[in-house]
């Protein structure tokens, strides 16, 4: 009945359009910015659509071939930002780190969550709250000690350090999501198996995990994404070029005052591809994984 009220429809479509513009408009601008020749930006107002798309920025990032437009000298800026060439390699670094973190967190998180969801043992509530609440301490408060510890272990500028630190940062959330999901599985199957002599580990492997795939995928992707995006600690403990993760490389580009905007935008486009591929699955599994067990 509401659909026939034109005013209401106008408000809804207006709001939806404004929201879509706010959320996705900047991405469109980045995409455009990555393919306009630098020179067209330094007139006011900038000439955004004066020339056909220019792919030199992308070519430079992957092959190191300096675009012609940067070779001219004079009043126009001709800086080519070296950091942009690190983008593909730092995506690879981010990917390796995030993948390792995801696997470790899923293993440790499943073990702990099964115990929290199904077993009674001393310290159950205390340790659960401790693990959860530990994450509420701001990262920046732990940054300096982390740096010192990693330095003490001789692991500065290694992927191992990032993997260890991100595991700690993401484990609490994964444990919460998995615990809530495991609890939503009827306990009777579990108990029948226990009566027949199955150990908790057998139950976890043969009964709980196969039934929890949506939640495992959701928690896993969520973990991957957090590890892929983290910046502050990566900046501190992996500041070396060879261990740069994507956010650190983007940060380095962004704070370079001589940066070429076209290159920077092309770097962001390339760096966003993994995120864009993951956004939809994360959304689906996050909604499912988070709503189960949190109802009234």
């Amino acid at each position: 009945m509401n659909r026939r009220r034109p005013l209401r429809r106008a408000v809804i479509y207006g709001a939806a359009a404004a929201l879509a513009l706010f959320w996705f408009g900047p991405f469109v601008l980045v995409a455009i910015g990555s393919v306009i020749p630098e020179a067209n930006l330094f007139t006011f107002p900038p000439r955004w659509f004066a020339d056909p798309p220019f792919l030199g920025n992308y070519r430079y990032i992957f092959t190191g071939e300096i675009p012609q437009t940067y070779q001219q000298t004079g009043a126009l800026r001709s800086m080519v930002s070296q950091e942009a060439r690190w983008v593909p390699y730092s995506i690879w670094n981010s990917f390796l780190v995030a993948l390792a973190v995801m696997l470790i967190v899923l293993v440790l998180g499943s073990l702990a969550s099964y115990a929290y969801a199904r077993l009674r043992f001393p310290g159950r509530k205390g340790t659960f709250l401790f693990v959860l609440l530990s994450r509420l301490i701001p990262t920046v408060a732990l940054a300096v000690p982390y740096y010192a510890i990693v330095q003490g272990l001789g692991l500065l500028n290694t992927r191992w350090a990032l993997i260890a630190v991100y595991t700690v940062l993401t484990l609490p959330f994964a444990t919460l999501v998995l615990t809530l999901y495991f609890r939503s599985i009827p306990i009777e199957v579990d108990e029948a198996a226990r009566v027949d002599g199955a150990t908790p580990l057998q139950n976890l492997w043969h009964i709980t995990l196969p039934l929890s795939l949506p939640s495992l995928v959701g928690a896993g992707l969520f973990t991957f994404m957090l590890a892929y995006s983290e910046f502050l600690l990566a900046l501190l403990i992996a500041g070396d070029r060879l261990s740069h993760t994507l956010p650190v490389t983007l940060g380095a580009l962004a704070t370079n005052t001589d940066v070429s905007w076209g290159l920077l935008m092309a770097s962001i486009m390339i760096g966003s591809v993994p995120t864009m591929l993951l956004v939809y699955p994360v959304w689906r599994f996050m909604v499912r994984g988070l709503t189960v067990g949190t109802g009234p």
């Binding site: 043992f121 300096v144 982390y146 962004a254």
Partner: protein, 303 residues
């Protein structure tokens, strides 16, 4: 514990193997939380930098930090940032969640892609918006100029007030997807019967929102609100790549301040003192969260 529930039979037995299962997770989290906190407290009582020899100075670092005008400035900026951002973010989150429950063309697409601003690295979000707000080549200035609203460019990121507003806008841009999605999930748990009953009673849309919707999403509002408050206090990536804390110190939030104090000024002792102060402030927030939650909200009754 065991004696209390003898009646429960096998369901009530204690499984000590549970301790073994949670041990790896708990130990690794404890090692990377308690030790660093202890380390921060230790360092905060010393003069400590890569250049000088360490020595114990008691509370001197704390005194220096708390009385420094830079710290007070950053703390004030952060407080103002949270106070402005959080209410706007939560109100918009409720509005967007309600909007997404309406049927309209493009709804599914909007939902499917909505996490994008939240999911991309915040450091990238800062760069993306720097591109939008740029003085000479920025899209915002170019659009406003084409529409005839402005005659020359507006220096968005180099005027203190405008730069602060820009940080607020970008923060909301990155966090609104998560807030909306969680509130949307909470909206779904409200039983339609309640709305029907309210409609039968002749309650207006506004009263239905006030007496059915709001109470229904209250727990989620509290959780998300506290979480986002902590996220806002810890904001770092975004100011790092968007404004670099400037112009001047106008967008220097606490996290950025700690970073620059420690790693630009190389003053580890004062950096650690700051970290301890921030951790204490967060602990207060955490206990607030605990009080707001019903005791068994997350783990449920013991099985």
């Amino acid at each position: 514990m065991v004696s209390r529930d003898d009646r429960g039979g096998h369901r009530r037995r204690v499984d000590r193997v549970g301790l073994l299962l949670v041990a790896p997770a708990v130990v690794i989290v404890a090692a990377f939380t308690l030790y660093p906190l202890g380390y921060a407290v230790y360092t905060s009582t010393r003069i400590s930098s890569p250049l000088l020899e360490g020595r114990f100075v008691g509370f001197e670092n704390y005194r220096n930090v708390v009385t420094s005008s830079y710290f007070l400035d950053a703390a004030g900026t952060t407080a103002a940032f949270v106070a402005v951002t959080l209410p706007v973010l939560m109100a918009l989150g409720v509005a967007v969640a309600l909007l997404l429950t309406e049927p309209f063309f493009g709804n599914t697409l909007l939902r499917a892609a909505m996490l994008l601003p939240w999911a991309i690295p915040a450091a990238a979000a800062g760069v993306i918006w720097k591109w939008v707000f740029l003085d000479d080549a920025g899209a915002l200035n170019a659009s406003l100029y084409s529409l005839g609203v402005i005659d020359g460019y507006v220096p968005w990121l180099t005027t203190p007030t405008l730069a602060r507003m820009a940080v607020v806008v970008v923060f909301i841009w990155t966090q609104l997807p998560l807030v909306s999605i969680l509130l949307l999930a909470a909206l779904r748990t409200i039983q339609p019967v309640l709305y029907d009953a309210a409609a039968v009673d002749g309650a207006s849309v506004f009263r239905r929102f006030l007496h059915v919707t709001l109470p229904g999403i209250r727990p989620m509002l509290v959780i998300v609100g506290v979480y986002e408050g902590l996220v806002a206090i810890a904001t770092f990536d975004l100011t790092f790549s968007l404004t670099g804390g400037g112009p001047g110190t106008s967008t220097t939030l606490l996290a950025y301040f700690v970073w620059s104090e420690t790693f630009k000024q190389l003053n580890f002792g004062q950096g650690a003192a700051l970290a301890v102060v921030i951790a204490l402030v967060s602990l207060v927030g955490i206990f607030g969260l605990l009080r707001a939650l019903p005791a068994d909200a997350l783990l449920g009754e013991e099985r």
